[in-house]
């Protein structure tokens, strides 16, 4: 019996050593390929073009970066990042309304309706893939801070940002002063976000 136990223990030990060895080799080869760990994303895909913003009180979960960086360029993270980047670039601007007549803005401008599918897709994705919520928070934060886009869009983004940061306080804690008071007033008058 003792001999058998020692044999099983030895086999187990060898297997553990083999696993550790293969992991070390794999990490080494990844580092060789990508340079410093964490740079894989920068080399393989575009980062979300966030404006240079102050992030007072912002705390990012240590799991966030590793979650973003781990999958390859075709993974759900990079795909979602592409969606948020494209949406951020296509949001309707206040400038678009210049030259419009009273009659033309009597009802909501069509540009506002045109962005609904993109914003709807982001909202739906966050409900289906919770691992993407940190990226969604990043998108809503960037959107709510932009003063060149239509106020209604900023309001929607701040409303969603408020909701998701309450769901995941480890990702980011909202600093109310970072966003205009007028936006908050409108957000508070709207129906709450529901899951």
């Amino acid at each position: 019996m003792n001999f058998e136990r020692r044999l099983y223990f030895s086999i187990g030990l060898v297997m553990v050593l083999l696993v550790l060895f293969s992991c070390t080799i794999r990490q080494y080869s990844l580092d060789e390929q990508n340079g410093e760990p964490g740079e894989a994303l920068a080399q393989n895909e575009e980062r979300l073009p966030l404006p240079p913003i102050q992030r007072a009180g912002r705390r990012t979960s240590p799991t966030l970066d590793s979650q973003i960086d781990a999958p390859g360029p075709q993974g759900p993270f990079s795909e979602f990042q592409k969606v948020t980047a494209e949406t951020l670039a296509s949001l309707p601007k206040v400038e678009d309304l210049r030259g419009r007549t009273d009659a033309e803005v009597h009802h909501s401008p069509p540009e506002l309706m045109a962005v609904s599918p993109s914003l709807g897709r982001i909202a739906q994705t966050l409900r289906e893939a919770p691992e993407l919520i940190p990226q969604g928070i990043e998108f809503y934060d960037a959107c709510a801070r932009r003063d060149d886009i239509l106020t209604a869009v900023r309001v929607l983004c701040l409303r969603n940002l408020n909701y998701w940061t309450r769901q995941m306080p480890d990702v980011m804690q909202l600093e109310a002063n970072d966003y205009p008071e007028d936006l908050w007033k409108i957000v508070e008058s709207l129906p709450p976000v529901t899951q």
Binding site: H106, H107, P109, S116, G120, A152, I186, P191
Partner: protein, 280 residues
């Protein structure tokens, strides 16, 4: 009992070729647009909204948010729908004035709601009434099957266009989607509110926005019970009633709601919504 009575009323109205709200459609309204509007009105007649607050009821002027209260409110203010092809300048006649002329635009407040060349919706009757009032005259309007005397902003003649179903609709969602019906219903209530008020407030004209996205445009509400104000209130409840709607539908409704909310000026005053009437 009330539900049975209301259902019977609906059945009679639909059976008579009308719609649940009793709104009459002019021959100039294209069939597909009429079908969508009738579907919207049917949905209003069966909508399940959360109970409102007393302040919300008072703002709009309803006893509650039951389908019967809402449809009744709408039918008092929107009686006729004319299509984009309806040429009101060709069909308006002066009742009491020495010179025979076509009304001129009195202010930007009541010019048609257009997006490019496409009309969304506007309250033609209220506009004509105000023009007549300003010029010491009154008009009649020849519709397909009847002649309407324009003696009050409550005449309820509303013109619609393709824009109501395209530019005013949530992208990526069918025109007949539930959220698009709710979106349009918000517009119907907005335009219907232009059938109210009296004195200098007649028609509930929009105010010039002092700042924001619509700075210097007449796209804001100075009244706490004006067209944008009641639209915002109703859209809040419509949004919550949009159960089973997709995220695109919900975000679209929310964008509209937020947009109209930005148009409410701070410290608004409630205007007397009772409509005035002109005596010939």
């Amino acid at each position: 009992m009330r539900v049975v009575g209301f259902t019977l009323l609906l059945w009679v109205l639909v059976g008579c070729g009308g719609n649940s709200v009793g709104i009459r459609f002019d021959a100039t309204v294209p069939g597909d647009q009429r079908a969508l509007m009738e579907q919207d009105l049917q949905r209003l007649a069966s909508i399940r909204m959360a109970p409102g607050t007393a302040a919300d009821y008072a703002q709009i002027g309803v006893a509650d948010f039951s389908p019967s209260s809402l449809t009744s409110w709408l039918s008092e203010r929107t009686r006729f729908i004319v299509g984009e092809e309806f040429d009101w300048k060709q069909n308006v006649k002066i009742v009491k004035l020495s010179t025979n002329r076509v009304p001129t635009v009195i202010a930007s407040l009541f010019s048609p709601s257009q997006l490019g060349a496409t009309t969304v919706m506007w309250n033609l009757g209220s506009y004509l009434y105000l023009d007549g009032k300003d010029n010491g005259t009154a008009y009649t309007l020849d519709l397909s099957n009847e002649v309407v005397q324009v003696l009050s902003p409550r005449v309820g003649v509303i013109q619609i266009g393709e824009g109501l179903f395209t530019a005013n609709a949530i992208d990526g969602v069918p025109k007949d989607a539930y959220a698009n019906s709710l979106q349009r219903l918000g517009t119907y209530f907005h335009e219907s509110r232009h059938s109210d008020f009296n004195g200098s407030d007649t028609g509930g004209p929009h105010a010039k926005c002092p700042s924001g996205d619509y700075k210097d445009l007449y796209a804001c509400d100075q009244y706490s019970n004006g067209p944008y104000a009641i639209q915002v209130t109703l859209l809040r409840y419509f949004y919550s009633a949009c159960t089973g709607c997709s995220q695109t539908e919900l975000e679209g409704l929310m964008l509209t709601l937020a947009d109209y909310r930005t148009r409410l000026l701070p410290s608004p005053k409630a205007a007397d919504p009772r409509p005035e009437r002109m005596d010939l």
